[in-house]
């Protein structure tokens, strides 16, 4: 489904973010990307979202080479991917409900679909009570759940989660990871980038370890070893 082929990303001559990275992701897989800060996890996700272009190599998503997608086609492409970020990236001027509905409005869903789906997703992430609150009025864990709900709502093929637990306490971290597992069980591929050791070790899923921009380990049922 996703295939990285000899991908290198160089920002400047003394800043090599990724070097000759190759791996495949199968449908409905749950993959964790681990590594220290600066190992290249975020860059890898940015390449997948077409926020950055690789210096070398190809990245295929369902047969399309991502760097070759025209700028005018990018919005469409991004709708097939749901993204969750460490800093949530919720729209501050919209309520929880509107933030989630926005992802559907963007794809041109009808009002009936929005009215039907948003409450459902709010229920899945446990935010029904907070539907009319603005992000500033939510706790960190609630904001991240809202962000996940937004990433989920248009039923993307893949969910990218970049340090989703980075700003959360262990209790809420576990909460978020449970939610991601639930999403994967419902049939979505999940790519999780994190440096949270407990999270990785409790998962027992595939782990790709990055170090200085290279893949140093790729194991089914991997553990956090650095």
């Amino acid at each position: 489904m996703i295939s990285f082929q000899h991908v290198t990303k160089i920002y400047s001559c003394n800043s090599i973010a990724l070097e000759d990275v190759s791996f495949e992701v199968k449908e409905r897989e749950f993959i964790s990307l681990v590594g220290k800060s600066g190992a290249g996890k975020t860059t890898l996700l940015k390449l997948l979202l077409a926020e950055e272009k690789p210096t070398q190599g190809k990245i295929f998503f369902e047969g399309k080479n991502i760097p070759e997608i025209k700028p005018s086609r990018l919005p469409e492409f991004r709708r097939e991917i749901g993204a969750v970020f460490q800093d949530y990236k919720l729209l501050p001027s919209k309520t929880t409900y509107e933030n989630i509905a926005y992802a559907l409005e963007v794809v041109g869903a009808s009002d009936q679909e929005i009215n039907r789906d948003v409450p459902k997703v709010l229920e899945i992430v446990g935010l029904t009570e907070k539907a009319n609150n603005f992000p500033a009025e939510l706790s960190g864990g609630e904001r991240q759940r809202a962000a996940i709900a937004r990433a989920l709502i248009h039923r993307p093929e893949v969910i990218l989660a970049d340090e989703p637990t980075g700003n959360l306490d262990p209790y809420h971290s576990l909460d978020i990871i449970q939610l991601l597992l639930k999403i994967q069980e419902m049939g979505t591929t999940v790519i999780l980038a994190t440096h949270n050791k407990e999270v990785i070790n409790s998962l027992g899923k595939r782990v790709i370890t990055l170090e200085k921009g290279r893949v140093i380990r790729d194991e089914e049922k991997g553990r956090f070893i650095l």
């Binding site: 919720l90 992802a103 963007v106």
Partner: protein, 316 residues
């Protein structure tokens, strides 16, 4: 075929819902960003009022110029023994000059009657007129040119040798400085006006542009997020354009109310200085033109400045 039609129909619905959402989101943004929108509307009001006053001023100045130009004329006085037929011949000749707008013949008797009419309350003047015993006034032609710059040509025409036997004097040299000054004032005023309008227009665009840029700068993170969620450029740009249009409309409405109040209030005061100049009337007569100017200025400025300001942040 059926499938194609279905697709077309779906696309139409998609366009319609998107447009509806863009307008809705623009309106919502307009009220949520209250403070900044008030600032934008305020700047727009200033610009629109400036544009309107330029329009009003040009009307007023045209009125004043016309008033002054009407008073700038030359009179040719004919010798006492000049025959009326000859004078009419001169008049005939003068009408052939394209610069001449109007010629009025004042006979000796008419000049006397005018004088008596004007000064009948003044016993001294009347007594001295009686003293003279005969009509001391000369027949004259009162000439008005279409442009104050043309008087010199007309004078040269009258100074031709053919007319020296008839013409007593041309009343131009006494008035020449005045006429020329009026001419230079009106042409400079016009130039200054054009210059000022250009400067004001540039300032207006820069100020509005900057205000909207500030407003959009605040939302640059938001734009980035919208991009990442997969919103198309028009879906992001649309609400800002709607906000710009709303600000423009609101500003135009406010300006219209303000300008009509101001002209209504000032009109009698200005009329004291320039009898016959009623700016409120000028305003009411040209109301549609003014409404057009105000709405066009407001909406265009709103749209141009927000689309310029947002362009930079759409490249994600």
């Amino acid at each position: 075929m059926r499938k194609k039609e279905d697709l077309y129909y779906k696309h139409q619905i998609y366009m319609f819902t998107s447009l509806k959402r863009i307008i809705k989101s623009g309106c919502r943004g307009f009220f949520r960003d209250g403070g900044l929108m008030i600032a934008t509307v305020f700047v727009l009001i200033l610009v629109i009022i400036l544009a309107t006053s330029l329009f009003l001023f040009s009307g007023v100045s045209q009125f004043i110029i016309a008033l002054v130009e009407e008073k700038a004329d030359i009179s040719v006085y004919f010798k006492e023994d000049a025959m009326e037929v000859d004078i009419f011949e001169v008049k005939e000749e003068l009408t052939k000059i394209p610069e001449v707008k109007e010629i009025k013949y004042v006979s000796q008797e008419r000049a006397l009657d005018d004088f008596i009419e004007r000064h009948k309350e003044n016993p001294i003047l009347m007594a001295s007129l009686a003293e003279v015993g005969h009509n001391p006034f000369l027949a004259s032609l009162n000439i008005m040119a279409s442009d104050p710059g043309q008087y010199q040509n007309i004078v040269s025409f009258l100074e031709a040798p053919d007319f020296t036997a008839l013409v007593e004097k041309v009343d131009y040299y006494e008035r020449r400085p005045v006429i020329e000054r009026i001419f230079s004032i009106t042409s400079t005023a016009n130039k200054v006006f054009i210059f000022l309008s250009i400067i004001l227009a540039i300032v207006a665009i820069l100020v509005t542009f900057n205000t909207t840029r500030l407003a959009i700068y605040n939302t640059r993170e938001e734009i980035k997020i919208q991009r990442l969620v997969g919103a198309s450029s028009w879906f992001i740009r649309g609400p800002f354009l709607i906000q710009g249009i709303l600000a423009g409309i609101l500003a135009a409405l406010t300006s219209l109310a303000l300008v009509s109040l101001i002209t209504w209030f000032l009109s009698p005061k200005i009329e004291v200085f320039f009898p016959g100049l009623n700016i409120f009337e000028f305003f009411s007569v040209n109301i549609w033109q003014i409404i057009l100017i105000q709405f066009a200025t407001g909406i265009l400025l709103g749209i141009i400045s927000s689309s310029l300001a947002i362009r930079k942040y759409l490249r994600v």
